[in-house]
């Protein structure tokens, strides 16, 4: 298994896109060393805009660029760009359906040593409730690179959620994904595990261990949480009759919430949500240990799968 960093692939994809799209502009709030938009600054200094440590201003300036025909990509840590600038995204970006790309890096528990102040555990929920804006959560670095390109090609506001450091890869470098179209990466008819972000890899590991126990799990990479691929969700539920969602995010309002909403209205199905149980993050020198502490592990997913299988029998 290879480990690659989403931010690196994102940074390189921006540079690649910048070569053919002269309207692509990248904005930073003094974190480009970490978000890797520094690559773009090196390549196209004239199209790189530094606003300083001011995330609200960052989103506002990006809005003005979009109003004037540019394609702005504003990148900062997820907790700060979504958290502090949420209302700018709501009122200025989304209500006008502006072509602003919001990129939140260091999402989930990935800034593990920094602690709870830097860990973004509610951003999917926060952005998902805003009309018009898409929410994209790539599973790994190649997916992040591919979906960065997709995001830029798609008109209208998009939120792209990325992890901090190197994470296990699921896809080859030349993967092709489409915003809004879920990717089935393992077939199975007993239970469907619908995952997003880093947790796709965890879902695959869980599927493997379940297979050892005679359970065939279908694994779906739901990289677009909004607009949600409704038919993929409903089909998965129909095929298996048991659903588990997995995300590195609060169990409230994120992928688990979105899938529950669709299924409860359209095809009620036994379901378990694996995620952060309505708690804040905390410091840990080791990221993996933190994921374990919060129950974001293949074992927890397999356990949830067994629970829905039981519920299905009733």
């Amino acid at each position: 298994m290879q480990f690659k960093a989403q931010v690196e692939y994102f940074g390189r994809a921006l540079v690649e896109k910048g070569a053919t799209d002269p309207d692509l502009v990248v904005l930073d709030a003094d974190v480009s060393v970490s978000t890797k938009t520094g690559f773009f600054r090196e390549a196209y200094p004239d199209r790189f805009i530094q606003v300083g440590i001011s995330e609200q201003d960052l989103v506002g300036v990006a809005s003005g660029l979009a109003v004037s025909g540019k394609t702005p990509v504003a990148a900062a840590f997820a907790i700060f760009i979504v958290g502090r600038a949420w209302e700018q995204v709501f009122n200025t970006v989304a209500r006008q359906n502006l072509n602003v790309k919001i990129v939140g890096t260091h999402s989930g528990l990935s800034p593990s040593a920094d602690g709870g102040s830097h860990q973004s555990i509610a951003d999917i929920a926060a952005v998902r409730v805003i009309p018009y804006i898409s929410v994209v959560v790539p599973a790994d670095a190649p997916a992040a690179g591919c979906l960065t390109g997709e995001m830029i090609d798609r008109r209208g506001p998009v939120y792209l959620r990325l992890s901090r450091g190197a994470t296990p890869t699921v896809y080859p470098d030349d993967v092709e994904l489409r915003i809004g179209r879920a990717e089935t990466i393992a077939e199975g008819s007993d239970v469907a595990v619908i995952a997003a972000g880093n947790m796709v890899h965890v879902a695959l590991q869980a599927a493997e261990s379940l297979r050892g126990d005679g359970v065939e799990a279908k694994v779906v990479d739901m990289h677009t949480v909004k607009p949600l691929d409704r038919s993929a969700v409903i089909e998965s539920a129909k095929e298996t009759g048991a659903v588990v969602t997995v995300e590195e995010h609060s169990v409230l309002g994120g992928l688990g919430g979105a899938v529950s909403e669709i299924l409860s209205e359209n095809y009620p199905t036994p379901l378990r949500r694996v995620g952060i149980m309505d708690r804040f993050g905390m410091s840990s020198r080791n990221y993996q240990r933190l994921l374990e502490r919060y129950g974001l592990t293949p074992e927890a997913v397999a356990e949830a799968a067994k629970q829905v299988l039981e519920a299905k029998k009733k």
Binding site: G83, P111, G115, H118, S283, R285
Partner: protein, 333 residues
């Protein structure tokens, strides 16, 4: 009293006003004359001195292990900061080293506080708004006796009380920080509460100079001045660097002092590594009524270890040999 000149602050203030009215000195940045920062309180005299006076190594301060010369205390704290960050494998070393002197002066020579009773209602409060400098705060709190020194080695570890950024789980920490720009607003609320309760404690706030980019800082600055909150003392750690480069490269902040002054604050410019200057400025804050106070303290990021000064160890961690070299250098000086 001015610690440096052994003169009453009121007298210095009088001289400053006289010199200004004669147009002999002007507002500006220390340390050059004519272009010297003149505060309304006579801090200019401090500014006329060399920028980085050697620490008052002889001044004795009380720590939990007994009385120590201040110079030794500052060295000990710097060593602990280095060891903690090296042990944790991450952390903002440069940002921590630049505020060691300021925090130590506050906790050991200025603030009313009681490490054996962290919730004492009359205590002075401190908000480390530039929360990424937490290692410096932890080293100071432990030296003061808020928690055992052994805990420093657990910085950023799972289940440690010493999180990557200040958290009230740590004894002695009153306000969670880490998201830049929020500390001053919280201080305004605490200062208003103190006024309501007719309490005499002060709220000290340490801001980064890059942190000044955040609009919320200036929103709070307006509110503090509007309400005449003279029980707030802000110290701006003017180390001239932020994450991706120098402050002036990332976002022009000058003229910093004039900005605060325009917002209605009592402004002082000093060197943040000059113990006398810091003490004098803090005392001026106690004598000036009706306005909030800001001390723009010129500092050096990574202060104390020659090869760490500037932005090089902004976030990188010393390896074993660098750590050794740094500790030796601190011991030598």
């Amino acid at each position: 009293m001015s610690r440096r000149y052994n003169l009453p602050i009121e007298e210095l203030r009088f001289h400053a006003q006289a010199l200004r009215s004669l147009k002999l000195i002007d507002y500006g940045e220390p340390p050059s004359f004519k272009g010297v920062e003149l505060t309304e309180l006579g801090m200019f005299i401090t500014n006329l001195t060399t920028e980085d006076e050697p620490i008052l190594a002889g001044d004795l301060v009380q720590t939990k292990t007994g009385v120590k010369p201040l110079g030794q205390l500052l060295k000990d704290i710097r060593k602990k900061v280095l060891q903690m960050v090296a042990e944790a494998g991450s952390g903002h070393l440069g940002a921590s080293m630049s505020i060691v002197d300021i925090l130590a002066i506050l906790y050991f020579m200025k603030m009313k506080h009681d490490p054996s009773n962290p919730d004492w209602t009359e205590r002075d409060r401190l908000i480390l708004s530039k929360g990424h400098a937490a290692p410096a705060l932890y080293a100071v709190l432990s030296e003061a006796g808020y928690f055992p020194e052994e805990e420093l080695a657990t910085l950023r570890e799972l289940d440690s009380r010493l999180h990557g950024h200040p958290d009230t789980i740590t004894p002695g920490v009153d306000v969670n920080t880490g998201s830049l720009g929020q500390g001053l607003s919280v201080a305004v609320g605490m200062a208003l509460a103190a006024k309501m309760d007719k309490a005499s404690y002060r709220i000290y706030v340490v801001l980064g100079d890059g942190e000044l980019n955040e609009g919320q800082v200036w929103e709070a600055a307006m509110t503090a001045a509007h309400h005449g909150l003279d029980n707030i003392v802000v110290i701006v750690d003017r180390n001239q660097y932020q994450l991706t480069g120098t402050t002036e490269h990332v976002m022009t902040m000058e003229p910093v002092s004039e900005k605060w002054r325009a917002f209605g604050w009592n402004v002082m410019n000093i060197s943040g590594h000059d113990v006398y200057a810091v003490l004098d400025a803090l005392e001026v804050c106690e004598h000036t009524k009706g306005r909030p106070h800001v001390i723009v303290a010129k500092t050096t990021k990574g202060k104390g270890v020659s090869f760490m000064e500037g932005n090089r160890f902004s976030r990188s961690v010393p390896n074993a040999s660098q750590l050794q070299q740094a500790l030796e250098e601190l011991e030598r000086d």
